[in-house]
């Protein structure tokens, strides 16, 4: 057995490049899939951690108006005998450096049963929160990463009450992650400008009937909401994002599978003669299969180990991107460590080793049966490959039809969308070998004849007769390029839609917004009288105000957008359902709301339905009069006139938009606002719509930055696939090239031939990727995106990405041709001529 293994494995030293390519295939496959999985898991962990830190072990929350409720209500409840309650003041704040932190103000005496962050109560740091105002507990890892040598450094925060300095002490929980800063409630009330106010009261109500009893005690304006209702929405959104990432990693997996298959089968097929000789010497079939699978196992193991290391390294880069996206859209999270889970690593071993074994199994079995030996056997193998194209074609058509049916009927919601997408992708890929064979036949036959092209004839026919090599390589490249196009279509269409929507929405000339980041329930609030004051200025034509807040509704906690609009606002609102005529009066005079597409999709509500919403006057039923397009909140928003919510003038709002009076330069109005704001206590930001648009688009681009990275990785995989296919062709057809050379083909001619073959594969893949990529983009937009977010958008044909794609395909293929072309042109002829003699 030792000699047998030696006979088989000595090829590693004789053809190291081939083995390297095989191992690289496994490494890339394992690395990409593991990296995306790790990034996903780490972000999810950070997300869960944030939810636990903030919501803790509470089962319910007492919520009131968005600008807070008096903290005496909490005292009253404690005095009434309710002990399992914890008051909270919370909100995001920005450090002077620009980083955002999330401040959680707690009552350390009431906290212990609720949150891990206060589990160390009794420890010196937590006690200091009570005794030393302006002290905050900061995650130790975050603190360690700061460039400060002080034991207890001081940090300056931009707060609604101006710049404030706090003393940071390391939280007792050494594992605390992220940017959640915990402080005593009194300090938080000062920092967040909510003196004597609370944002919520957390409650642990585990006994039956407790919730009802507490609810009965609550004064008007306060509501008891189950926690599940609050974080379910956020969790669902993060889930949608994760699904998109997982889809990308599955795509990478699919491409990687082709790569592993291609390199593994080739490494066996190329040595069929060795197997034939061994069989002639009396080696049994089982031994042949054993020795081939042993090598595949070896390749799989080496590739998996190195791939896992590369994947962990890659994940460090990805995880930051993912965390940032989650922070931008959902919640402030920070991930500081990537920790591979044993299950994920086991899955990677199954992927790397399993795919390697699977790919080697078929040729090993062929070899053991004595088929496919020698050059005539190789021809027979190719003949079988040609025969198989018909079968694959039929299977492909069936898969496409099935996928299209699922997509058209909308079966299975989001999962159904993904199933449809993968069926259509797989179906399309199965069609390719047949088209490739036909195309190459046409090129090597009638086309080359007509234009009298000897080299294209040779290139075309050689590729056609090596369909088992050229087929998988083209499929891998097509898939990578199609994924790039699909993502371009999605991102491009999305970007244009968001840009158009921002243009429609931002109809004021200048905006005044609260300086604190408005990403959570406790966002900063501008005084209500500001709108009236500014509206009275001669420089101002009209003023609009907007406020985003979480409100309790019959559908759980929802995002409410309270608007006091410009008079012509409905002309700019992208209404997709409902009648604009008379809508303004309806919204102003009756309990009527509008909802976004996302809200409609998530809640399953339609125009004409009613929605119960808790307002300062109590719970009221609102009619839904229309649906409008909005990309600001993936979970959807309900729009209501501010005065209807408040039952009169709004006491405050998050932002206001001003339009200049005729003939007044914008700069004049801005100067007036800035001068007026000097005398006000509330920190604000004056900004123009283009700045908001720029910031919004920057967030948008950050969100999709990860897809570009994955696109590059898939292209790298495809590049390796083409390279390995061309090297395979070069080795298999070495004698043929040697004959051509001895017949008079120049070394440069051989190089041209190889480049031509690479270009043909690249061109075919690039052209095939266009319909597949556009189809993928369409399904992503019309099925998956709609199912995940409920957003509709116009599908844009990405002209530049399509051209880019063509160049990328050709470029990757030509780049992959350089080495084989160089090697073949310098190949010693005599040994090559003796091959297989």
């Amino acid at each position: 057995m030792r000699l047998l293994l030696r006979a088989w494995l000595r090829d590693w030293t004789r053809h190291p490049l081939q083995r390297l390519l095989t191992i690289v295939g496994v490494i890339i496959a394992v690395a990409v899939v593991l990296a995306v999985d790790l990034a996903n898991q780490s972000a999810q962990r950070a997300f869960d951690r944030s939810m636990i830190d903030v919501a803790g072990a509470a089962t319910h929350q007492v919520l009131g108006p968005v600008d807070g409720f008096p903290d005496r209500h909490y005292r009253d409840l404690r005095l009434a005998g309710w002990r399992d309650l914890a008051p909270i003041v919370e909100g995001p704040l920005r450090l002077r450096t620009g980083d955002t932190i999330y401040l959680l103000g707690v009552d350390p005496l009431a906290e212990a049963p609720f949150r891990e962050t206060a589990a160390g109560f009794g420890s010196v740091p937590v006690q200091r929160l009570l005794t030393e105002p302006g002290t905050v507990l900061v995650p130790p890892r975050w603190l360690a990463a700061q460039e400060t040598t002080a034991d207890e450094p001081r940090f300056t925060l931009r707060t609604p009450a101006g710049l404030q300095t706090v003393t940071a002490i390391a939280a007792p929980d050494a594992d605390a992650e992220g940017q959640l800063w915990v402080t005593d409630i009194a300090t938080a009330q000062v920092l967040l400008d909510r003196v004597s106010l609370l944002d919520r009261i957390d409650a642990r109500l585990e006994e039956p009937g407790q919730a009802e009893a507490l609810e009965a005690l609550l004064p008007t304006g306060l509501e008891l909401v189950p926690v599940a209702a609050r974080d379910a929405a956020a969790r669902e959104l993060a889930q949608a994002f994760r699904i998109n990432l997982t889809a990308m990693s599955l795509l990478a997996l699919l491409i990687a599978a082709f790569l592993i298959y291609n390199t593994q089968t080739f490494s066996v097929l190329r040595r069929l003669e060795v197997l034939a000789s061994l069989r002639l010497l009396g080696v049994s079939r089982e031994q042949i299969v054993g020795v081939v699978l042993f090598e595949a196992l070896l390749v799989g193991l080496i590739g998996t180990v190195l791939g896992a290391l590369a994947g962990i390294w890659l994940a460090q880069g990805l995880v930051g991107q993912v965390a940032r996206t989650v922070s931008d859209h959902f919640f402030v999270v920070a991930v500081t460590a990537v920790e591979p889970r044993p299950l994920a690593l086991a899955a990677m071993v199954a992927l790397g080793v399993g795919l390697s074994l699977l790919a080697a199994l078929a040729p090993a079995w062929e070899a053991a049966r004595g088929r496919g030996m020698g050059t005539s056997g190789r021809a027979a193998l190719e003949q079988r490959a040609h025969g198989l194209t018909g079968l694959l074609f039929v299977a492909g058509v069936l898969a496409i039809l099935l996928g299209a049916t699922i997509a058209a009927l909308g079966l299975g919601a989001l999962v159904g969308g993904f199933v449809a997408l993968f069926l259509m992708i797989t179906g399309f890929l199965l069609l390719l070998p047949r088209f490739l064979a036909a195309g190459l036949r046409w090129l090597g036959g009638p086309l080359a004849e007509r234009f009298d092209w000897p080299l294209p004839r040779l290139a075309g026919r050689s590729l056609e007769r090596s369909l088992s090599r050229s087929g998988p390589a083209v499929v891998a490249l097509t898939l990578a390029l199609a994924a790039a196009i699909g993502v371009s279509v999605l991102v491009g269409s999305f970007r244009v839609s968001v840009s158009v929507w921002l243009g429609q929405t931002l109809t004021s000339d200048v905006y005044v917004v609260a300086a604190s980041p408005a990403s959570a329930r406790g966002s900063a609030w501008l005084p209500g009288h500001w709108a009236e004051t500014m509206a009275s200025w001669p420089e101002v034509d009209t003023v609009s105000t907007g406020a985003t807040m979480d409100a309790v509704s019959g559908r759980g906690l929802i995002q409410l957008f309270l608007l006091r609009p410009h008079p012509d606002w409905l002309e700019h609102l992208p209404l997709v359902e409902g009648d604009a005529a008379g809508l303004d009066a309806l919204l102003r005079d009756t309990d009527t709301v509008l909802m976004t597409e996302g809200f409609s999709a998530h809640q399953g509500l339609r125009v004409g339905d009613r929605l119960e919403i808790t307002t300062p006057q109590g719970r009221r039923s609102f009619a839904i009069a229309g649906v409008y397009r909005d990309y600001s909140n993936p979970g959807g928003t309900v729009l209501m006139r501010a005065e209807r919510y408040h039952g009169g003038p709004a006491p405050g709002f998050g932002s206001m938009g001003l339009r200049t009076a005729d003939g007044v330069p914008l700069e004049t109005l801005e100067a007036r606002i800035e001068a007026w704001l000097q005398d006000q206590d509330t920190p604000t930001l004056v900004t123009r719509p283009d700045a908001i648009e720029t910031e919004s688009m920057a967030i948008f681009d950050r969100t999709f930055a990860i897809t570009h990275l994955l696109r590059l990785i898939t292209l790298l995989v495809a590049f390796v696939a083409i390279l390995s296919a061309l090297v395979a062709l070069q080795m298999e057809r070495a004698r043929e090239y040697a004959v051509l050379r001895s017949t008079g083909l120049l070394p440069s001619g051989v190089s041209r031939l190889v480049f031509l073959q690479g270009a043909l594969l690249g061109l075919f893949a690039a052209l095939a990727a266009i319909p597949l990529g556009l189809g993928m983009g369409w399904v992503l937009i019309e099925v998956i995106n709609r199912e995940a977010f409920g957003w509709r958008m116009d599908v844009m044909l990405p002209g530049i990405p399509l051209a880019e794609n063509l160049f990328l395909g050709l470029g990757a293929a030509l780049l992959a041709s350089i080495y084989p072309a160089w090697r073949l042109a310098r190949m010693p002829l005599v040994p090559a001529l003796r091959l297989n003699e």
Partner: protein, 245 residues
């Protein structure tokens, strides 16, 4: 052949060696050989005696370690790889023992290949000339067959057609009947001689068969990498004569 004919191949003090694990191995030593235009010379010798290496050196497929090879007054050692290829394209035709046809080209296309590479004929003209050549080797009815659809003898006929279609000055044949049965070998050999006679090319043929060698103008024998003189060759004795091996 007359000694006044111009020399087509001239080997002077030719040597070839390679460095292996066991040190330097001399494959060919001090070989002098000359072929006149139209002359047909056989190289015989045991396996490993250096016959094929001599042929490869003459074709410019290998570079000699010592000495010179001249093809029609052009010294191969002074040429670049590209120039050697161009010379091979123009002046040489090679017939291999294992045929070495391009499997992705039909019989006709295989024969037309040297014309297209050389550029002396393209398109229809190349195909017409190739068709004529194919007819001359008796395969006009199988022009559209691929190599794998032809018998061994037919494949070698196509190879001969390919080697001669551009009327080279020198044909190098390495055991052209080595892979064929005796009857087929005989017919292929006869065809090769006819074709060489028709084009006026010189022929340098490596063979194991003394019987075939004797039918050429001259036979040289190689022993351990050295070319024996005519009288030495006679002294060493002829191997058993027989059909084409």
């Amino acid at each position: 052949m007359t000694s006044q004919s111009p020399s087509v191949l001239e080997c002077r003090s030719l040597g070839f060696s390679y460095r292996g694990a066991a040190g330097v191995t001399a494959v060919l030593q001090d070989v002098d050989l000359s072929l006149q235009a139209g002359e047909r010379v056989a190289i015989v010798g045991e396996s490993g005696s250096g016959k094929s290496t001599l042929l490869h050196l003459a074709a410019g497929l290998e570079t000699p370690s010592a000495g010179q090879v001249r093809v029609k007054d052009t010294e191969l050692g002074s040429l670049s790889e590209r120039e050697r290829t161009l010379l091979r394209r123009r002046e040489l035709g090679i017939v291999f023992q294992a045929f070495h046809l391009i499997p992705t080209l039909t019989a006709l296309e295989n024969v037309a290949l040297p014309l297209e590479l050389e550029g002396s004929a393209r398109g229809r003209e190349a195909r017409d000339r190739a068709a004529a050549q194919l007819a001359s080797v008796g395969l006009s009815g199988k022009a559209d067959r691929y190599p794998e659809q032809l018998s061994g003898g037919e494949q070698q006929r196509v190879a001969i057609g390919r080697a001669l279609v551009h009327q080279p000055a020198l044909i190098l044949a390495d055991e052209p009947t080595g892979n064929l049965d005796s009857a087929t070998g005989e017919s292929v050999f006869r065809l090769l001689l006819e074709q060489v006679a028709a084009t006026g090319s010189a022929l340098l043929m490596v063979t194991h068969s003394t019987a075939l060698a004797e039918r050429l103008d001259r036979t040289v024998r190689m022993v351990d990498g050295r070319l024996l003189a005519q009288d030495e060759a006679a002294a060493v004795g002829s191997p058993a004569a027989g059909p084409a091996a």
